[in-house]
């Protein structure tokens, strides 16, 4: 009968799954990877996943984390929150327990923020997620390491102000903000609004419904109102569409500035020369094809045929973001090993201590091959971000070149905003701020 065939196939598949789980090696540090290799952000999320996987392979070639090998298993979310939650549940207990999650989606980050405290797994959201989670005394398990949206918003405005010749020159100017109409896009707005109040420039908010392939109306508005600058908080196919529409409406690319998810090669390479002059603020690193770590990956991983993606994209912006994300994941574990025992596999809970006490000096970064890619990062119990440096790069028609010096987000403005927002979250959730004793644990 048909049903018996079906049933036996089901049983076979089920036993298969349990045996593969049992085969997992004992002494590995497991880094789950939630990927977006399909769906609306695939062109951008794929290099990130490749960089993440390749760097972990490089760590193993270099001898692991004090001898502990890394293991990556991917689960495809297609940028959908419910699939992301399913992937999280699937991977969190595998291979001895997940070390840290990097969901690469603000929606998934919001959902997982509610789940990680219970499971005792840290969450690294470099450059995305909740900006207020930089306040480690409320968000014990969240780590927006090396930057969040408010840092992006602040530095991009600093760059514009510098170009104009000072903040006072922005008075009376009009700045359009094209953003993804979701928590991802809206997270940028508080800092921009705050700055507009401080310096007296006018904002024109232009929300684009996801996935952002239909933007004719938005750019018609831009054409009518002619803002002096346009800031873009876009991701995936939306960025390319925005720039194409800007070309079509004749809005100068020199006056368009992306945040760090809106300025990578997949967004611009099809537009090519027409996109020349478009800039984006970068969370420390940009495209780094000349860096030591990229050479190492090419020599020690790709040369052996073990590379994850195409060789050409190694060193691209989003590939590098995956590499940097993986490096931060690994270095947190290394820091945790200093305390909990060198050469041991760290639990998520122990790794969390490592991320909270990260001290990546320039010498350490240089030794890892990140010379010229990154500046030092140092986190603490109250500061889960660790650094607020950024640079701006500009598309010259074929590749990106740096067009600004290092910029640092203004802590005087961001710190109180983070604190107030975290306070609000804590009171909604009836959470207590962590005290000194909890910080030591």
């Amino acid at each position: 009968m048909k049903f018996t065939h079906l049933a036996s196939a089901l049983v076979a598949a089920a036993t298969l799954m349990s045996t593969t789980a049992a085969l997992a090696q004992a002494k590995v540090q497991f880094f789950p990877s939630l990927t977006g290799r399909t769906g609306p952000v695939a062109p951008n999320a794929t290099p990130f996943a490749n960089g993440y996987a390749d760097y972990m392979k490089l760590v193993n070639v270099r001898g692991g984390i004090n001898g502990v090998m890394t293991l990556v298993e991917e689960c495809e979310t297609a940028y959908a929150t419910d699939r992301g939650v399913e992937c999280y549940e699937r991977l969190k207990g595998k291979h001895g327990g997940a070390t840290v999650f990097q969901p690469l989606s603000t929606g998934i980050t919001f959902a997982l923020t509610e789940k990680v405290p219970g499971d005792k797994i840290p969450l690294i959201t470099s450059g995305y997620g909740r900006s207020d989670s930089a306040d480690g005394s409320v968000f014990k398990w969240n780590f927006p390491l090396i930057g969040h949206y408010w840092v992006a918003g602040d530095t991009v405005l600093q760059h514009i102000a510098k170009k104009e010749g000072g903040w006072d020159k922005l008075k009376g100017k009009k700045i359009g903000v094209v953003y993804h109409d979701s928590p991802f896009g809206k997270e940028l707005l508080p800092i921009i609004t705050e700055r507009s109040k401080m310096h007296g420039f006018e904002l024109q908010l232009l929300p684009v419904p996801a996935p952002g392939v239909e933007q004719k109306a938005i750019w018609l508005q831009v054409r009518q109102q002619r803002p002096d600058f346009v800031i873009m908080q876009t991701w995936g196919v939306m960025t390319a569409t925005a720039i194409k529409e800007a070309v079509a409406t004749g809005y100068p690319r020199e006056k368009m500035f992306g945040t760090w998810w809106s300025g990578a090669e997949p967004d611009l390479k099809d537009i090519g020369a027409a996109a020349k002059g478009y800039s984006a603020v970068m969370m420390q690193h940009g495209a780094e094809p000349g860096s030591t770590v990229v050479k190492d990956i090419l020599d020690k991983v790709h040369a052996k045929g073990e590379g994850t993606g195409p060789k050409e994209e190694v060193g691209n912006v989003l590939y590098m973001r995956g590499v940097v994300g993986a490096m931060l994941s690994v270095e947190g574990v290394r820091a945790a090993q200093e305390r909990f025992g060198k050469g041991k596999v760290m639990l998520g809970e122990q790794a969390r201590w490592g991320y909270e006490n990260l001290n990546l000096t320039q010498a350490k970064l240089d030794a890892l091959g990140f010379k010229g890619v990154m500046r030092p990062v140092s986190t603490s119990c109250t500061d889960h971000m660790g650094s607020a440096w950024a640079r701006v790069h500009t598309w010259d028609g074929a590749k990106f070149t740096w067009t600004s010096d290092w910029l640092q987000a203004d802590e005087q403005i961001i710190k109180p905003m983070v604190k107030a927002s975290a306070e609000r979250y804590a009171s909604e959730k009836k959470l207590q701020r962590r005290d000194g004793a909890d910080c030591q644990s």
Binding site: M17, E76, D82, V85, E89, G107, F110, P190
Partner: protein
């Protein structure tokens, strides 16, 4: 042989009118319920609860609500995601703005708000029918998406537009572990399924079905279309709204309007079409098909690849999952256009005639 009602004589109206007139069915349903309530919490692990069972229960509830409207009353709706969103956001507002609001009351009030919105968007159904109505309910989807994205009051002025809830409890019992969440959702689903089953076989359900089968004829024999259609919208939206509240509160914990996008509406519509229109059982089959099958495919493919020593990339798995899933939908719709529930009842018919089915 075992499944045969020979010799079961009904001696009272009560016996004749019960939900499951056949003894074997009654025993079967009690066994299933006992299994779900007592055995599953012992057997299932956390992954099964949080990633499969809880979403399955909640979406089955939403499908149940939609099936009342589409399957029983014949009014095609593409606004299910919107009604879920109304339920979730209304429940959120009740629980945030009123100190000490019990969870169950917030969910039911959320359902009540969804009812109001549902009836409002159901009014066009009095004039337009079929696919045109589907387009009209689509307006609800866009309107509600817009509302919760733009009007920050509804999200308690959250800067990102994402809301979150925690510390759920039910009459003093906390609902935080997967077990508790599962049992909570199961309890609600059982109550609503029982109510829905009794509604659709009562006079009001018969009115809905009369309207579905031929509204002019129904009006001629004295059924008021206004009343029948709007009650279907009301009951349906209420159940869908409660399901939306559960989806936000119990499953996600933190959500944005994208959790209730047009994709959700389509997903639910596919569930009831594949499961079986006009069948309570079909909702469960459809929800299982749509929720569990993709995850199963996603997990089985790499395992099959391991078996033959081929490493299948994550992207290839995702693409294959979509292709196989799509092919299976087409296959089932060709083999049994009336849905999986019809397959189930055919199987039961054959069981009755066993060992000589024809």
């Amino acid at each position: 042989m075992l499944y045969r009602e020979n010799g079961q004589f009904k001696t009272s109206y009560g016996a004749d009118q019960q939900v499951f007139p056949i003894t074997q069915d009654r025993i079967g349903i009690w066994l299933v319920l006992a299994f779900a309530v007592f055995a599953v919490p012992v057997l299932a692990d956390e992954y099964l609860f949080r990633a499969i069972l809880i979403p399955f229960l909640i979406l089955a509830l939403a499908a149940l609500g939609l099936n009342i409207l589409v399957g029983y009353c014949g009014q095609i709706s593409l606004g299910t995601g919107a009604f879920m969103a109304v339920g979730a956001y209304a429940a959120y507002n009740f629980s945030v703005r009123i100190e000490g609001m019990p969870l169950i009351l917030a969910l039911l009030l959320g359902g009540a708000c969804a009812t109001v919105v549902g009836v409002l968007f159901g009014i066009p159904s009095l004039r337009i029918k079929g696919l045109y109505l589907a387009v009209a309910t689509l307006a609800a989807q866009f309107f509600v998406d817009w509302t919760f994205l733009r009007i920050s009051w509804f999200t308690n002025n959250s800067p990102s537009g994402s809301v979150n809830v925690s510390n759920l409890s039910f009459f003093g019992i906390s609902i935080n572990t997967p077990h508790e969440k599962y049992l909570f959702c199961l309890g609600i689903l059982i109550v609503f399924a029982w109510l829905a089953k009794n509604l659709v076989r009562g006079h009001i359900g018969r009115e809905w079905m009369a309207i579905r089968d031929m509204d002019v004829a129904a009006a001629v024999i004295g059924i008021r279309p206004v009343y029948a259609k709007l009650t279907a919208f009301a009951v349906s939206s209420f159940i869908v709204g409660v399901a939306g509240g559960l989806w936000g509160f119990v499953h996600l914990g933190s959500w944005e309007p994208a959790a209730f996008s047009i994709d959700r509406s389509f997903q639910l519509l596919f569930m009831i079409i594949i499961g079986g229109l006009g069948s309570i059982m079909g909702c469960f089959f459809g929800a299982a098909f749509i929720v569990i099958l993709p995850i199963f495919l996603n997990r089985a493919l790499p395992a099959l690849g391991d078996l033959v020593n081929v490493e299948i990339s994550t992207a290839a798995v995702a693409h294959t999952e979509l292709m196989v899933f799509g092919a299976l939908i087409v296959f089932f719709l060709i083999v049994e256009p009336h849905g999986l529930a019809r397959l189930w009842s055919t199987a039961k018919e054959k069981m009755r005639l066993w060992p000589f089915p024809h």
